[in-house]
Amino acid sequence: MSATTTEPERGAPRRRALVGRAVFAGPGLLYVTLFMTLPLLIIASYTVLTRGRFGGVETEFTFDNFAKALQPIYLSVLGNSLLIASITTALALLLGYPTAYAIARLPRQWRTVALVLVVLPFWSNFLIRTYAWIILLNSEGPLNTALVNLGIVGAPLDLLYNRGAVVVGLLYAYLPLMILPVYASIERLDPELQEAARNLGAGKVRTFLDVTLPLTLPGTLIGAIFVFVPSMGNFVVPELLGGGKTEMVGNLIRDQFLVARNWPFGAVLALSVVAFLVILFAIQAAIGRRINGGGARA
């Protein structure tokens, strides 16, 4: 490490560093490469190959899979997914940002409790959390029963098996992923900056728009990506709460691999979701650098 070491000693720390790298980080990095990077590369290579008869691929080069993704029927599924994921993200922002702000302004001893309460549902079984909404929104379910008994509506509403239910289910699944990074960026915010703005005569709204919002933008974008991308790729919520009527990219990918057995086409669709993730992260990093050199830190 230090430049003053004498000639024969210099090799030893370097060798120790190499051994340390190999022993500690080696197995983990190898594992990630074998079981994440390699699978993704295989999927990437499948996008230009021909479908096999019973799943799998044949090594015949083609661009047809990309052309197929541009057919109107599939573009409409993509558009539908983008719309649903966008609405979900917007709602998560609307509810999540003020929630994160409120948590960051709580007395210190309450902050951790408040945060744990936000993430707790996120760590529980995702299917069960989706299933809970089938019960809640059912025509005979508690919500409809309450609405009818209170005389708010005359007959039970059709709350389940439509786009609205899908949005609610996705919001329920991913809201914590919005709150956490927004909270982290608000907590890091120097309160003196806000005070300075106020002292210089800016009103509350002006202070928020000119100081708080720009400085928390990188964290907010991370939260938006964390909600948007998994919403697009989700196939369970559209199936269970959309009643099979609302098809999203996730359902299409699932079907290409397990039902239609057109792996190359499924690979194109899946990589398009990953591409969204990468592009959005690049945009986030660029905005983060411009604002405070924060980059991808959440």
Binding site: A25, L40, N125, R129, G233, V236, V274
Partner: protein
């Protein structure tokens, strides 16, 4: 006084979030004690569905399969993830490499699922619990590494230096100093992997064989065919398990720092 009052209206979205997050869970738990056979209408308190749950062979087998995967994945992912975190923190200090190692935690699960399916098909491995286990280790390791890295971020290296100076070898220093210092983070990471694996559906759905469904796969096939009070009871139990594990992990180390 003033700052608290100034954000008073902000407590509204906070409470709205909690109501939104916990009302469905509360309804589910209450309904699991419903005597009625239809899972929506309340007909008095009963624990019969918990009893029937224990009689269900499909659920019991699913539970055993899930436990095999979860325990295996936890042991492997915790070992690899801890070593990985130490390696990244001590010998690399590269933000890019760190991001690479943690990517499995944020990559869309569906993309990872089909990638692994393609890999296993290409290599010619028969799908089963072993392939689910291999798959769960990938993201489990990333979560352990993230939690351990957070602790390494404010760990004091002087203890290890002292141990070395006093003549302890690298192996002895590792087991007597490094591991005990990191133990809270390692245990918390292990608990997280366990609960993630226990509840994981999408990747298991693609990488599991047809004869060994894990519990989430069993639940999925049950839920697709309709709502039964038995699922309510199972759901309530699984929620209890996950909540207990995550709260324990949080008490052991400040998870909220790492995530």
């Amino acid at each position: 006084m003033e700052p608290v009052r100034r954000v008073g209206w902000l407590h509204l979205p906070l409470w709205l979030t909690y109501v939104f997050l916990y009302v469905p869970i509360a309804v589910l738990v209450v309904m699991s004690f419903n005597a009625s056979k239809t899972p929506f209408t309340w007909k008095g308190f009963s624990t019969r569905w918990y009893g029937e749950l224990l009689q269900d062979d499909l659920i019991r087998q699913g539970f055993i399969n899930t436990m095999i995967v979860a325990v295996g994945a936890t042991v492997i992912a915790t070992s690899l993830g801890t070593l990985l975190a130490i390696g990244l923190n001590r010998y690399f200090r590269s933000a890019l490499l760190e991001a690479y190692a943690l990517t499995p935690a944020i990559i869309p699960d569906l993309a990872l699922a089909i990638g692994l399916l393609a890999l296993f098909a290409l290599v010619g491995v028969t799908l089963g619990l072993h392939t689910v286990l291999l798959a769960h280790v990938v993201f489990g390791m990333a979560f352990v590494a993230a939690v351990v890295l957070a602790r390494l971020g404010h760990a004091d290296p002087s203890l290890e230096e002292a141990s070395r100076d006093l003549g302890a070898g690298p192996v002895s220093t590792f087991f007597r100093i490094t591991v005990p210092t990191l133990m809270p983070a390692i245990v918390a990471g292990a608990l997280l992997v366990f609960t993630l694996s226990l509840d994981e559906f999408v990747i298991a759905f693609f990488t599991d064989g047809p004869s060994t469904p894990t519990l989430p796969i069993v639940i999925y096939s049950m839920v697709r065919f309709g709502v039964t009070p038995e699922i309510n009871a199972l759901a309530a139990l699984l929620l209890l398990v996950s909540f207990t594990i995550v709260i324990s992990a949080q008490r052991i180390t400040k998870l909220t720092d790492a995530l």
